[in-house]
Symmetry: C2
Subunit: 199 residues, 2 copies
Amino acid sequence: MARPPLARERVLDAFEAILIDEGGRAATLDAVARRAGVSKGGLLYHFASKDDLAAGLVDRLDTLTDADLERMADSPEGPVTYYIRTSVMEDDALDRAIVATTRLAQGGSAIATAGLDRSRRRWAAAIRPHVRDDAALDLVMLLSDGLYFNNSLAFEPGAAAEDAADLVPTGAGLARLIDLVLRTTTRAPEDPEPASDEV
Amino acid sequence: MARPPLARERVLDAFEAILIDEGGRAATLDAVARRAGVSKGGLLYHFASKDDLAAGLVDRLDTLTDADLERMADSPEGPVTYYIRTSVMEDDALDRAIVATTRLAQGGSAIATAGLDRSRRRWAAAIRPHVRDDAALDLVMLLSDGLYFNNSLAFEPGAAAEDAADLVPTGAGLARLIDLVLRTTTRAPEDPEPASDEV
DNA sequence: GTCTATATAGCGATAGAC
DNA sequence: GTCTATCGCTATATAGAC
């Protein structure tokens, strides 16, 4: 680890913050440097190009994913509950890295797309042993993706924070949703033979 | 409707295509005009500004949402199955409009964010009567969002089309997922829920 | 390691011919 | 209704002083 230069982290924080608060188009080198309290030249000393800045954000996502996988494995509530519960935007370091990287990916950054894909596969692999079958795994993963998708839209400049409240379940609503998912994905099915014929 | 000028539609198609294929940053007026086979001046006759171009895309999304709500209401498989099934990217007009608008929203376009939010609320209102409770509605909506999120990432330049295949269920896997969701959301619960009093 | 100044190119938008 | 030409601005990136 050998803690990286502080200015470098501050630049990365600023990049992340602008991506989240104002969207991908606003995240210019000028804007990032200003927010980080350095000059553009100072920024470019730490990150040689904008692509390098994106790579730095993806590195941060990888590191935070490592830590989250450990926390998830140790979680007393179980990996499924932990994963869904922590998929609502709580503005912690991991949430911010995910939303910021998503913004980059949607702008067209290949490295951001690959980084998101990599983290997602690691979470899926860790969760798989704790759910009934592949359909159940799909359900859990997609639900989490949906939560991030909505939270990320809710944080856009066009959306009032109050309006977002009823888009995504929080508190008791989230608890009921998790309960629903747990019943659906972790237990053996009550009716062992679905025998559905429609597609 | 009084069919709009063809060139206008071609420009909108090109805008959509570039957003989907190359991401938000690549969707410049020059690139859109080139792909549509018109000059930049020609483009700007139909859409006075880039914001106006975004507004045109959102209008298209609204219109396609109208049509989809009708199809969903008439669907013999039922609204829930219809909604989930059609949430995988099939490259039809509605899918393309949604993914393209999502790219714009993540770039920071307030009008795109508002448009997505509006369509999502209309779908939610149409589905609500067909599921058990609000938690079930959340599940269905978030699952659909998750499918779009993944499909939109899979279409990014950084992701090979083959790799995307195992990210999102298709065919039989999708059928099993829908079956799982239907059992979870549409039937009366085996254990009758204690009437909860919040929300 | 951080700054200012500057080069270069690309972007959105306008003007005006046809 | 579509074109070419061009303006003014902003973006990324470089050079070189401190």
